[in-house]
């Protein structure tokens, strides 16, 4: 169903290029300056491999959301380029290939859970009938199969977030972008949803780019953590977490986990030195 297309998104548009095995997205020399003069990102260069679970970790205002929105094509970089691999098999910038989960559930309050999850398919012209099994499957994956006819206001915060994930997954994307999706949830719900996302990631051959404030969350989930600093937003560390998957509660209480957290915390703390960060 997905149409194969590759190219570079630059300030000027899409230019076809790049071939490199395993690399899915290559960000090179990207700056982002906003109209008001804020430099949200400076010289961001990053290769994101296929099937990676990569976390952007950093203090508030370091440009994590901006980076994510640029990868999704929602804003253009001021300079530099974001290339999607041609050979990766992932059909780069096709609509179907990106799922986005915002910090808030971002559901349409006037529409049922079914209608909310159906939205991406509706927008690309899939008929309700053809979409029905896909929507139902997506809802089943997040444990909300019985809630299709319910309105968002009748759901708890965690359940709304699940709907949001189902909506992102309904097009069967190759890349899932998540911007602090669980920041507003309680610890228990967050742990549960962490496990859910890990399972979706492994079952669907996803590449996940996950933005978070939380060292513990990033270590638990990712195999790679990009530590960022603010003013201007930049990458200060690129840490590989080589603990094997599947990860579970055992990993969460292991010495290895604690060691990684300590390491990442230290890297994160160094970004705060001499910085007035408004958390």
């Amino acid at each position: 169903m997905a149409h194969q297309r590759a190219g570079v998104v630059t300030a000027m548009g899409i230019v076809p290029t790049m071939t490199k095995a395993d690399s899915l997205i290559r960000i090179s020399g990207v700056d982002k300056r906003f109209a008001n003069g804020t430099v949200a990102l400076r010289d961001l260069s990053l290769d994101i491999g296929q099937r990676q679970f990569i976390s952007f970790l950093g203090p508030s205002g370091c440009g994590k959301s901006t980076a994510l929105r640029m990868i999704a094509g929602l804003t253009a970089p001021s300079t530099g380029s974001i290339e999607w691999s041609k050979e990766s098999g992932a059909a780069s910038k096709h609509v179907h290939d990106i799922g986005f989960v915002f910090q808030e559930p971002t559901l349409m309050p006037w529409a049922t859970v079914f209608e909310n999850v159906y939205l991406p398919l509706k927008l690309v012209g899939t008929s309700r009938k053809a979409a029905q099994p896909l929507v139902e499957e997506a809802l089943e994956q997040v444990g909300l199969a019985n809630f299709a006819a319910v309105y968002p206001r009748e759901l708890s915060g965690g359940m709304k977030m699940r709907v949001s994930i189902a909506r992102a997954m309904v097009t069967r994307p190759r890349v899932l972008l998540m911007d602090e999706p669980f920041a507003a949830l309680d610890e228990m719900t967050r742990i549960k949803l962490n496990n859910d996302v890990l399972r979706l990631w492994s079952e669907h051959d996803l590449t996940v780019i996950f933005v978070t404030h939380s060292v513990w969350e990033s270590v638990y989930l990712s195999n790679r953590i990009i530590v960022m600093a603010a003013r201007p937003g930049r990458v200060v560390d690129d840490i590989t977490i080589s603990a094997p998957y599947p990860r579970d509660e055992e990993f969460r209480v292991s010495a290895e986990y604690a060691e990684y957290c300590k390491h990442v915390s230290k890297a994160l703390r160094s970004t705060l030195d001499g910085n007035d960060v408004d958390h």
């Binding site: 999704a72 915002f102 309050p109 529409a111 927008l123 997040v142 206001r153 859910d196 079952e203």
Partner: protein
């Protein structure tokens, strides 16, 4: 495929609490009716006890009697005013929605024309009405224009604000999935605007009636084809206070009816999702 674990109950909750429904609805009806009745009774008693002459303050019973006796002559005026008001309201809704949409989608057009809309809004209708009466031959058309001017602005500004109030992230989501402008309008902007639109409609409904009555006062029209304002004026010239009151009763009943229809419509359209129409439970 394995499914995600849920601790939340697996059945959708029943949302509308049926238990409180009936008693509450009864109270909703009974309370204002009782208050109204008590007030009328006090009024009646006061007039009777102090022997207030009817040309100063008629008793409610007398007003009702006058209303019944004169109903055949008042009826055509009632329909006239009602028709005028509803037509003005319909015009205001259509033009407000249309022009509001154009404004919301095109900031340049809004920038150019919004001052005109504000001018219409801030100039008292009573000051413009005489001019309109001069320029427009048909009295009905002139009255209609006056009532429309008054009701137009809330529809316009609420439509504009409503269409602009769509959630920022939802807009980004629509862009992510390459929604066409029409899809974005139909599935995101219009539903987001609906609560604002309904709020505008409630205001415009009241204003259309005010516009219709005020314009008729200014027109000072007399004769057969006239509305309730003319009946009030006539009665006032002849010092027929009970007749003034009975016309007044009809005017406020028109207003109430329009208001109730709006409430009902708003509940129908927003009741299942918008905060303003959702009853909190417990």
């Amino acid at each position: 495929m394995e499914t995600m674990s849920t601790t939340e109950s697996q059945k959708p909750r029943v949302v509308q609490a049926a238990v409180t429904g009936k008693g509450e609805r009864l109270l909703r009806l009974a309370l204002p009716l009782a208050t109204m009745f008590a007030w009328l009774a006090a009024w009646e008693f006061y007039v009777w006890q102090q022997a207030v002459p009817p040309y100063i303050l008629p008793a409610p019973s007398l007003i009702l009697q006058t209303l019944v006796e004169n109903f055949s002559s008042l009826e055509s005026s009632l329909w006239f005013t009602l028709r005028l008001t509803l037509m003005a309201l319909a015009l205001a809704v259509l033009s407000g929605a249309l022009i509001g949409t154009i404004f919301a989608l095109s900031p340049l057009i809004e920038l150019s024309f919004f001052p005109f809309a504000i001018m219409l809004q801030v100039t008292p209708i009573i000051a413009i009405a005489p001019l309109i009466m001069i320029y427009v031959d048909s009295t009905f058309a002139a009255l209609l224009i006056c009532a429309w001017i008054v009701a137009f602005f809330p529809m316009l500004s609420n439509t504009v604000i409503g269409l602009r109030s769509a959630d920022h992230n939802l807009k980004a989501l629509f862009r992510l999935y390459r929604a066409t402008p029409w899809q974005t309008f139909r599935y995101l902007l219009a539903p987001s605007a609906l609560p604002f639109f309904m709020a505008g409609l409630k205001i415009a409904g009241g204003l259309a009636l005010i516009g219709a009555v005020v314009a008729e006062f200014v027109a000072g029209a007399s004769g057969r084809d006239t509305g309730l304002a003319s009946r009030i004026l006539e009665a006032s010239f002849r010092n027929e206070i009970p007749r003034m009151f009975s016309s007044l009763v009809l005017v406020s009943m028109c207003g109430m009816a329009i208001f109730m229809i709006n409430i009902w419509l708003s509940k129908r359209l927003l009741g299942y999702w918008h905060e303003s129409e959702i009853k909190s439970e417990g």
